[in-house]
C-alpha cells in the first residue's frame, strides 16, 4: 500500500483542478497580454482565478500578483519592500528559507522565538523599540515543519503600535489550506501563498497586497501584473490555483474536521504503540490540523524514513537541501530542541485526500520500522 503523508511538502492535484486546467494546456494558445479574442480569453481565465485568490485572502483582485510560487512571493515581498522603502527587514528565526535568506542577505534582523517556534512578542517589542529603520516585519502564519500558528493579529497590533510606518508581511503558504485568514489579512500589508499546498499545481502562487503598498519589482520586463511581476503568466497553472482557491474556501471546514481526527488518531496511536515517542508541540499549542510532528527517541530519522519508504509510507524530516540530504532543522534549533532529539523527529503531514486506511497502515508500519532500528542497536 502507498501512503502519502507528505502533504505539507506538496499535495496531490485535485481532479477538479486538473479538469479546469486541461483546456488551457490544449485549446487556448492566447497570451493574456495580447489584444485579440484568444488573448482576451486567456486574460479572462487568469482574472477569474485572481478573483478566487483575492476572495481566499479577503483582498481586492487588483492587489493579487501571480508568481511562480511561495518562494518567489516571499522574495518579492522582502526585496520589493526594501527596494521601494529602504530600511531593514525583520523576521523570525523559524521562517522558511524563502524569507530568512533575503532578510539575512539584506543585513536584516532575525528575532528569536519561544520554545514552540512562535515569534517571541517581548523580544519583538524590544527590537522594534531599539531600531528606527525597520521597514518590514515578516512573520509566517503557520510553520512548514511543525504547523505552529503565530498570532498575526497581535503581532500586527504590536507593530502598528510601536512603529506605525512598518509594513507587515506574512508567509501564509502553510496556512491557507487550514485557516480563514481574511480576518487578520486586513491588518497586514503583504501575504504570500502557493497553490500546490491545497490541491493546486506546482508553479503558481501569489503575493497579495494591501491597497497603497508600493513594491519595487524583482522580475522586470513587459510589465505584467500591473508592473509588479513581469513575464507571461503561466495560464494553466494560474487557472489551477484559482480553482483550488475556490474549492478550499467551500470545503475547508469539512477537511479540517476530517484531517484533525486522522491526525489525532495517528499521533495518539504512535505515542501509544512506540515507547519514547513525543509530540514536538503540545496539544495546547495552536497548530494546523495537517501536521503530526513526532520525535522518536534513539532513532535517526534518515534511517527511519528509508524503512518507511520501503513499506510505501512517504513522510519527511525537517527540510531537504539541494543534494536531497536531510538537513538539521533550523526550526527545531530555534525552539531550543537539542540536535539529538531533532535528529529523531519526523513530520507526517496529512491532507484532503488522506484516508482512514492510510492512517491504519502507517500505524502498523511505523512501529515495526522503529522496532527494527532499535533492535539493531541492541
Amino acid at each position: 500500500m502507498e501512503t502519502y503523508l507528505d502533504h505539507a511538502a506538496s499535495t496531490p492535484v485535485r481532479q477538479e483542478v486538473i479538469q479546469a486546467m486541461l483546456p488551457w494546456l490544449s485549446d487556448h494558445p492566447g497570451n493574456p497580454s495580447g489584444s485579440h479574442r484568444l488573448a482576451r480569453e486567456a486574460r479572462r481565465a487568469i482574472d477569474d482565478a485572481r478573483d478566487h485568490v483575492a476572495s481566499l485572502v479577503g483582498a481586492e483582485p487588483g492587489n493579487v500578483i501571480f508568481t511562480s510560487g511561495g518562494t518567489e512571493s516571499d522574495n518579492l515581498a522582502i526585496d520589493g519592500v526594501l527596494g521601494a522603502k529602504g530600511g531593514q527587514a525583520l523576521c523570525s528565526a523559524t521562517e522558511h528559507p524563502a524569507v530568512l535568506e533575503p532578510v539575512r542577505e539584506s543585513g536584516g534582523i532575525v528575532a528569536p522565538t519561544d520554545d514552540t517556534g512562535r515569534v517571541d512578542l517581548e523580544s519583538l517589542a524590544n527590537i522594534l523599540d531599539s531600531f528606527n529603520d525597520i521597514s518590514l516585519v515578516s512573520i509566517m502564519t503557520a510553520n512548514n515543519e511543525t504547523g505552529v500558528i503565530n498570532n498575526i493579529d497581535r503581532i500586527a497590533d504590536l507593530v502598528l503600535e510601536k512603529t506605525p510606518e512598518t509594513m507587515i508581511h506574512t508567509d501564509a503558504v502553510q496556512a491557507t489550506s487550514w485557516l480563514d485568514i481574511t480576518g487578520f489579512s486586513k491588518k497586514v500589508h503583504l501575504v504570500s501563498l502557493t497553490g500546490h499546498k491545497f490541491g493546486g499545481p506546482k508553479g503558481a502562487g501569489a503575493l497579495i497586497l494591501k491597497d497603497g503598498v508600493n513594491l519595487s519589482p524583482v522580475i522586470r520586463g513587459g510589465g505584467q501584473e500591473r508592473e509588479r511581476r513581469s513575464g507571461t503568466q503561466n495560464v494553466p497553472a494560474i487557472v489551477g490555483l484559482g480553482e483550488a482557491a475556490r474549492l478550499i474556501q467551500v470545503e475547508r471546514l469539512d477537511i479540517n474536521e476530517k484531517v484533525t481526527k486522522l491526525r489525532d488518531k495517528l499521533e495518539n496511536g504512535l505515542i501509544e504503540k512506540i515507547s519514547g515517542t513525543s509530540r514536538t508541540l503540545s496539544q495546547k499549542t495552536p497548530r494546523t490540523p495537517g501536521i503530526a510532528h513526532l520525535c522518536f527517541k534513539n532513532i535517526e530519522n534518515e534511517a527511519l524514513l528509508f524503512l518507511l519508504e520501503n513499506e510505501g509510507v512517504y513522510a519527511s524530516a525537517a527540510s531537504s537541501c539541494a543534494s536531497g540530504a536531510q538537513e538539521a532543522s533550523h526550526v527545531l534549533q530555534a525552539m531550543g530542541v537539542d540536535l539529538k532529539t531533532a535528529g529523531g523527529s519526523i513530520r507526517f503531514s496529512l491532507g484532503q485526500t488522506t484516508t482512514e486506511e492510510e492512517i491504519e497502515y502507517a500505524l502498523t508500519v511505523v512501529p515495526n520500522s522503529v522496532e527494527q532500528l532499535r533492535e539493531f542497536k541492541k
Binding site: E302, A303, G324, F376
Partner: protein
Amino acid sequence: MTRVMVAMSGGVDSSVAAALARENGDDVVGVTLKLWGGESDSGCCSVSDVDDARRVADALGIEHHVFNLGEDFDEYVVAPYVKAHSAGLTPNPCIECNRHIKFDRLLNRAKALGFEKIVTGHHARIVKQKNETLRIARAEDEAKDQSYVLYMLDQKQISSLRLPIGEMTKDQVREKANSLGLRVATKPDSQDVCFITREKGRADFLRQRIPLTSGRVVDENGSEVGQVEAIELVTIGQRRGMLLAGGKEPRYVNNIDVESATVTVGTPDQLLVKQTEFRDLLWSAEKTGGEFLVQTSAHGKPKLAKVEEGLLVWKDAHSRVASGQSLVFYKENQVIGGAIAI
C-alpha cells in the same frame, strides 16, 4: 538475491561497481553520502557529484538515496585533521573517513536497514586465506591500488564488503562505463582531500580555522638557514616551500617543533631512521610475526620491517615517517595490519 547497498560517490569507479552489482542480479540500492557542506571542487555540498550518482542510478534502474553524515564527518574527519595540523602532524583524512564514516556509520546503517553487504568502488581486492580469514589485497591495477586506505578493516567489516572494482584496471572500468553509456565514463579521477579545493588549497583551508605561525628553518647545527610561512603546513621529508639560503645539496625537513616554531633540515642521510614508533596497532586477522613489507604513504614504496618490543624496526634504514601517517603492513600483496606513526 543478496540485498546490497552501493556507496556511490558520483565517480566512475563506484558507478561501475553499482552496475556490476546490478548485473550480478543483486537487489541493489545506491547511497551517496553528503559529508562536507563547505566548498569543494564540485561546487557547494558536492551537489553535482550527488547529481551524477543519482543519474547513474536512474540509468541503472536502481533506487538512490542521500544520507547526510556531515556532522560525523566534521567530528571524526575534519576537526581531527585541523587539530593534527596545528600540532605539526601529517594526518590522513581518507583513512579516518573510512574508519569512522564509511565502514562504521554507513556500514552500521546498512545493516540496520536490512542490507547484507555494502559495495564500494575502491581499487582493492578481498581474498580468503586457507584458514577462512579474509584479507584486503592490492588491486589488479597497481597504480590505482587503494588497499592502503582500507587497512583498518577487521574480519567482520571485510565479510560485509564487496570490492568488484579491485579486479579491474582503470581502463577496463572506464570501458565498462562507456559500454553502458554511463555519463561519468570520462569523469576525471578525484584528487587529494575532498574537503579542500584545488583552487584555494590546504593553506587557505587551515588559515580559516587555526592561526598559522611562521617559523625558522635551522640546520643540524642550529644555524638559521631559512624561514617557513606556516609551521603547521610543513611535513617531514618536505624539500620545497622553504626559503632556504644557498646550500650545495638538497635538504629535507627531518624535524618539526611546533612549540618553538622551528623546522630542522638536513641531508637525505640525516633523514634516515632505524625504527619508527607507532600507536593504534591492529591486525586484519591474527597477529603476524617476522618480517613484512610496510608502506608509509598512499603511494609509497613498501620496505621490509618487523615489530619488535612495540617498535617498528626497519631492515634497512628508512626515511623518517611523518607523525600521523599510517603504517600499513603487507605480506604477499595482502594487508595484514597497520598502525599510525608517532
